[in-house]
Symmetry: C2
Subunit: 203 residues, 2 copies
């Protein structure tokens, strides 16, 4: 599997450190149907992965330094409780963020992938945030901040998808596949945030 | 305000029946920033509203009969516990669904709008689902089903935005504004689903 670096701190994809997701592969298949995620989308994600592979550092810098750093409500989640920058935390989490772009495009959406979606989700909640890097920052990222920032991720990825001279039609199809994948992931990330009282028979 | 029908059963927008949202206007403004929702988007949503106004019935039929009806995991939420169709429930909720398209595009995103987002959210949870129409159906819509179906809504709306001979660039800008608004709304709809244990200081 293509990686952004030889060693990525805290990147435990496919290892025994990652617990089994409470969501089943069958539920994932149902979710794919709800999202309208098809084999064509899988194909175009592979193509997107080839296009984005050498741009992941630039993209994550765009998101982190170009956008998140200017939005206090989001920037706080990688800063100290006093609002101080934490360059080491940011550097480590940026490498994982870069790798996430590759994983989104190039990984098969199998049990390992499903398990790691749950791991990503947990690392945004009080259960696991800050623990991977042993830092003191905000105790969790509210789900609404994640849902909201997805819009920015989806909007800003498009020029990077268009950077390798594919036709406008192909860029559109890659972008549509990307947006569907992110929405699929967002649905999975919502799991540890949901209140059991709202959903007595599921999750 | 433009309406899809003289009377829409259970459509209580702006009335005293709708409680004040637990989310403040200040939090909404912060969320708009996270989403990247700008005045330009507001402008293009108005334009989208003009384009979509006479197509809302067709669009909702497309979503309901053309897509949801074919996805058992979603169709169940407007059927009886035995899976029987409930035409009266569907007809009433379809009118509100149509009106939601207009409200998305044409309403100012003020306190009334914010309150009604919470009302829409609650009507998908065990707290209020089925009560507006006094029916017996699934007790709630899992948040992941809502998150997932947003992808379909965003993908399928685009041809309707292109139906009035606007340039491809204008259609793209209307579509981008639409997608941002839906993500903004989704972030608000997540509120009653979120587990207070994950978010001790907010929501």
């Amino acid at each position: 599997m293509r990686k952004v670096a030889e060693q990525i701190h805290g990147y435990t994809y496919g290892t025994s450190e990652v617990a089994t997701s409470p969501i089943t592969l069958e539920q994932l298949e149902a979710l794919k149907v709800s999202v309208g995620f098809t084999e064509e989308d899988q194909h175009y994600l592979q193509q997107a992965g080839a296009v984005l592979a050498d741009q992941t550092k630039q993209i994550v810098e765009h998101w982190r330094s170009g956008i998140i750093a200017g939005i206090p409500n989001l920037a706080r989640h990688s800063r100290s409780p006093q609002g101080e920058p934490m360059p080491d935390y940011l550097a480590k989490s940026n490498l994982r963020f870069q790798q996430w772009i590759l994983d989104t495009c190039l990984r098969p959406y199998d049990q390992d992938w499903l398990n790691y979606q749950q791991e990503i989700a947990l690392r945004h909640t009080t259960l696991k945030k800050n623990k991977t890097d042993n830092v003191s920052s905000t105790p969790y990222v509210p789900l609404r901040d994640i849902v909201g920032f997805i819009s920015v991720i989806n909007e800003t990825i498009k020029p990077y998808l268009a950077a390798k001279n594919h036709s406008a039609g192909e860029v559109d199809r890659m972008h549509r596949a990307w947006c569907k994948s992110i929405q699929l992931q967002l649905a999975l990330w919502a799991e540890p945030y949901t209140d059991a009282k709202q959903a007595p028979n599921e999750w």
